[in-house]
């Protein structure tokens, strides 16, 4: 079983990202499970969402403590929340930032930084980075194919909004692929 933990702030679409990643993974032929860290959601407050992937039915219901993958939607969280806690050796951390990292991920963990905010502003016109980071996640981990991600986005968002989100995800996908 592989596990993903998404850190974001209320309003950034972390829960939606988890759901859509699970939908895309399921379409790709694996069992998946997505759920939020249940809280009293407030815009701007730190939130978490989780995804599990497995080749067999997923029974486990606890939160994710030792993720294989971490997505950080807002790098300002890093000083407030221990976002890298428990990450497995060999794991992958994706951080949305335009800056060079002034923090360290645990040893044996791969850090990928991407300026998802700029990509989202350009492609969608809003600083909502969840779908952009999904593209980066697909490229970095291979847990989901871009085609299934595209389908999940088309299914969730109406017409033009889907097109814009897919475009944002594709830029991130290509950026991470290109950098790898």
């Amino acid at each position: 079983m592989r596990e993903l933990r998404i850190h974001g702030r209320g309003g950034q679409g972390s829960v939606t990202a988890a759901e859509l990643i699970a939908v895309a993974a399921f379409e790709g032929g694996v069992f998946s499970q997505a759920f939020p860290a249940f809280g009293v959601e407030r815009r701007g407050a730190p939130v978490q969402a989780f995804v599990r992937f497995d080749d067999k039915k997923i029974r486990l219901r606890s939160q994710v403590y030792e993720p294989d993958y971490i997505i950080v939607q807002d790098s300002t969280l890093i000083k407030d929340v221990n976002v890298f806690q428990g990450v497995k050796t060999g794991g992958i951390v994706i951080v949305n930032t335009e800056k060079k990292p002034d923090y360290q991920v645990p040893e044996g963990v791969k850090l990928i930084t991407i300026d998802a905010t700029t990509i989202a502003l350009k492609a969608i016109g809003l600083p909502i980075t969840n779908t952009t980071l999904m593209g980066a996640f697909a490229a970095a981990t291979g847990e989901i194919q871009f085609s299934t991600l595209e389908n999940a986005l088309k299914h969730r968002f109406p017409g033009e909004l889907a097109t814009k989100n897919i475009a944002a995800a594709k830029i991130a996908f290509d950026t991470v692929k290109g950098g790898a």
């Binding site: 759901e19 399921f26 997505a34 486990l60 219901r61 606890s62």
Partner: protein, 385 residues
């Protein structure tokens, strides 16, 4: 067809397929997604039902009582404080023998206020006369609605039913489920045809005044109906299995129980985590198994005694607490079911108000049980006491 969807939406879809004629509910976290989806279905003509909007839960269930007494298949959903506000009508619905089905997205009750999961809400209604089904995953949460209507409406039962599934842990989780088609549901669940209903041409009364000469027998009949429901669940649960491949005939279900020395007894979504913990303990050579309780009312005492006859010790997990008694409701009733046997029964109250339960907690509880330590709250933060 297998699809991946949110638990609440899967439940709403299952309810739609059951073709309720009247839906009345009031939104409350974490149940809201269900009734939002049903309101959409009605507005979009995907469900031909009367959706009665109300000012609170007391009115919601009252509307259901009226509609059910008039002969409609009726549905509501609630949780926590909402269920408590309904309490008077909860008992009345059962006393009037109205087969309303209500989803409970299990949540803790206040004070202190908690929106998170435990089972105190539905467990607190254990003496109301409603049947109580508990789902381990969203597949069960979905399927149990079909079974619940079929059992509740059976003329030998005629009692309302809760379908309980853990708030957030299941209600807000996306996972794959196999949703049966409208055609299949129609085959399994025929139109509701009540033995008695309110009819101006043939007037009768529901829930009237019963003097001491009559009251006891009403309660006796309800108790008998609960007990008859066991066989009815077995029959229709098996029929569901034959038709759709998932057999719900058993009120309790064993996992790795055959040669187990320690048995965990649990209800709801925690059973999934327990199964994963058992696989790991088995790999270390520990003979541990699970007995999952899927039906809490009627309580499967005989089935539990039989299933646990060979184990040395039992650890009962309760996401509820009967304050001032010896632990949670399940432990108390399992201990009663095991009365006279040499098996040790220990209760563990855990996961209250949404406290997360991990595989390591299950392993620790098994170790405690092996040492004979139990009948306690598990995982207390000593620094707060």
């Amino acid at each position: 067809m297998m699809e991946i969807t949110e638990g609440s939406h899967a439940v709403a879809e299952a309810v739609r397929l059951c073709r309720p004629q009247v839906v009345s509910a009031y939104p409350i976290t974490p149940q809201t997604h269900i009734v939002e989806a049903l309101a959409d279905f009605v507005a979009n003509c995907q469900l031909d039902a009367e959706y009665i909007t109300v000012e609170n839960e007391l009115s919601a269930l009252s509307a259901c009582v009226g509609a059910s007494a008039a002969g409609s298949r009726t549905y509501s959903a609630t949780t926590s404080q909402g269920l408590l506000l309904m309490t008077e009508v909860v008992f009345n619905a059962a006393g009037m023998r109205l087969p309303i089905v209500m989803s409970i997205a299990n949540r803790a009750i206040g004070a202190p206020l908690s929106i998170w999961n435990d089972m105190q809400d539905s467990i607190s209604m254990r003496d109301s006369g409603w049947l109580q089904f508990y789902a381990e995953d969203n597949q069960e949460a979905t399927d149990l609605h079909f079974l619940a209507y079929k059992v509740a409406e059976d003329t030998t039962v005629q009692l309302p039913a809760f379908v309980c599934f853990d708030g957030f842990i299941l209600s807000h989780t996306y996972e794959p489920i196999d949703m049966i088609s409208q055609e299949q549901v129609d085959q399994y669940l025929p139109k509701y045809n009540p033995a008695e209903k309110l009819d101006a041409k043939d007037p009768i009364s529901f829930g009237m005044y019963a003097t001491p000469d009559y009251y006891t027998e009403f309660r006796y009949e309800m108790d008998m109906a609960q007990k008859r429901a066991k066989e009815v669940i077995a029959k229709y649960g098996k029929e569901f299995g034959t038709m759709f491949g998932r057999d719900y005939s058993a009120l309790v279900e064993g996992y790795q129980l055959e040669d187990a020395e320690t048995a965990i007894v649990a209800m709801g979504s925690i059973c999934g985590t327990v199964k994963d913990a058992i696989d790991e303990m088995r790999a270390e050579g520990k003979k541990v198994g699970l007995l999952k309780i899927r039906v809490f009312r009627p309580f499967p005492s005989e089935e539990i005694a039989l299933a646990l006859a060979k184990v040395k010790r039992v650890a009962v997990l309760d996401k509820n607490i009967s304050l001032g008694a010896k632990g949670g409701a399940t432990a108390i009733e399992v201990r009663d079911a095991m009365y006279g046997s040499a098996t040790t029964v220990k209760g563990y109250v855990l996961g209250l108000g949404g406290r997360d339960i991990r595989k390591k907690d299950i392993k620790e509880i098994v170790s405690l049980c092996e040492k004979g330590v139990g009948d306690q709250f598990y995982g207390l933060r000593q620094e707060l006491i």
